[in-house]
Point group: C2
Chain length 200, copies 2
């Protein structure tokens, strides 16, 4: 017999929607909030409802935004940049922003090509990307999709779009990660690092 | 610069109230819900608000309950049992229920004695436990508090209460856990296992 009340069981089941949270963790989370942090639980509930309701996508770059345009796209110094970086997700955009290295604009695919899962060019908004490129103010597209099979396929597809419009395309360098040890590196990364070696 | 919108940042901050969730995990959870499971996010939000609002404590055993009495305390075959098991939390109660070994009633402390944190007998509802014991229908109290310093101190305190009312008290057996290896067992568990050895 489970001694959980219906509401508690509902909460535990709902918590399992979070990535990496199984039944045990969900139960621990529910008990922790109920025992020690009801205020935090209430805040989380409200924040979730607000976020799910009001966060949409930026009309220009497709990243998450409550406004029609996100903070980056509504910043003229960035939205008129001639550099456009294509990323797979808002989390990737975030990671690049945190390096502070890039001050151009983005286009967020919110996924990657995966025909078997029914994700084609339309789902990734590639028609909209094509329209943006057609305006002629982008000089270079930086492909920052994931270095996976799907990510590479997506990158090739977008590179084709750019070539057709004579826009130059680059791809993030592949090689040895900082702090990594050669001994434990997979062969294909190592061979990328070899073929992409630079004069010292 | 962070590219997160205010609502998104609020959601990420609120998710950090969950145990074991830091900023990175919170961000991943938020993105995952927004990208792939808004329905799940909405459900979780509603479940949290309902649970925080409506889940109280059982008037008899203090475990979480939406009703005045929890499912166990409102089951006559259990609430009139002469065995009372004292546990530290609802999660512990749950773990014992799942063994299917115990069909008596419980008393849930919702914590353990810890004078430095301001948790004394009153906070654990020990006055209420004493009243229950005074009714005279409990024949044995099983102490199932955690085998930690605080848990032991709590157990000793409750054992005193029981002795005063001439109720017999037992404590969960301590010893080698099933499937454990002696080689890696801590010394104090091993010495408990020795002193508590049984004829084979």
């Amino acid at each position: 017999m489970t001694a959980n009340t219906p509401l508690l069981q509902q909460l535990i089941d709902a918590l399992k929607a979070l990535p990496g949270v199984g039944p045990k963790t969900a139960q621990r989370m529910a008990f922790q909030l109920l025992e020690r942090n009801r205020e935090g639980g209430r805040k989380l509930g409200t924040a979730l409802l607000h976020a799910m309701e009001h966060i949409g996508q930026c009309q220009s770059c497709r990243t998450f935004s409550e406004q029609e345009l996100c903070a980056i796209c509504s910043d003229p110094s960035r939205s008129q940049s001639s550099l456009l970086c294509v990323v797979g997700s808002s989390a990737d955009l975030q990671a690049i922003e945190q390096t502070g290295q890039f001050d151009g604009r983005y286009f967020v695919l919110m996924g990657q090509l995966s025909p078997l899962d029914g994700i084609g060019p339309a789902e990734l908004g590639l028609d909209r990307l094509e329209q943006q490129l057609a305006k002629g103010d982008v000089e270079e597209v930086i492909l920052a999709t994931n270095p996976t099979m799907e990510g590479e396929a997506t990158a090739y597809y977008i590179a084709e779009l750019c070539h057709r419009q004579q826009i130059s395309v680059s791809r993030l360098a592949q090689g040895v990660p900082v702090g990594g040890e050669l001994e434990y590196l997979d062969g294909s990364t190592l061979s990328h690092a070899f073929s992409g070696r630079k004069r010292f």
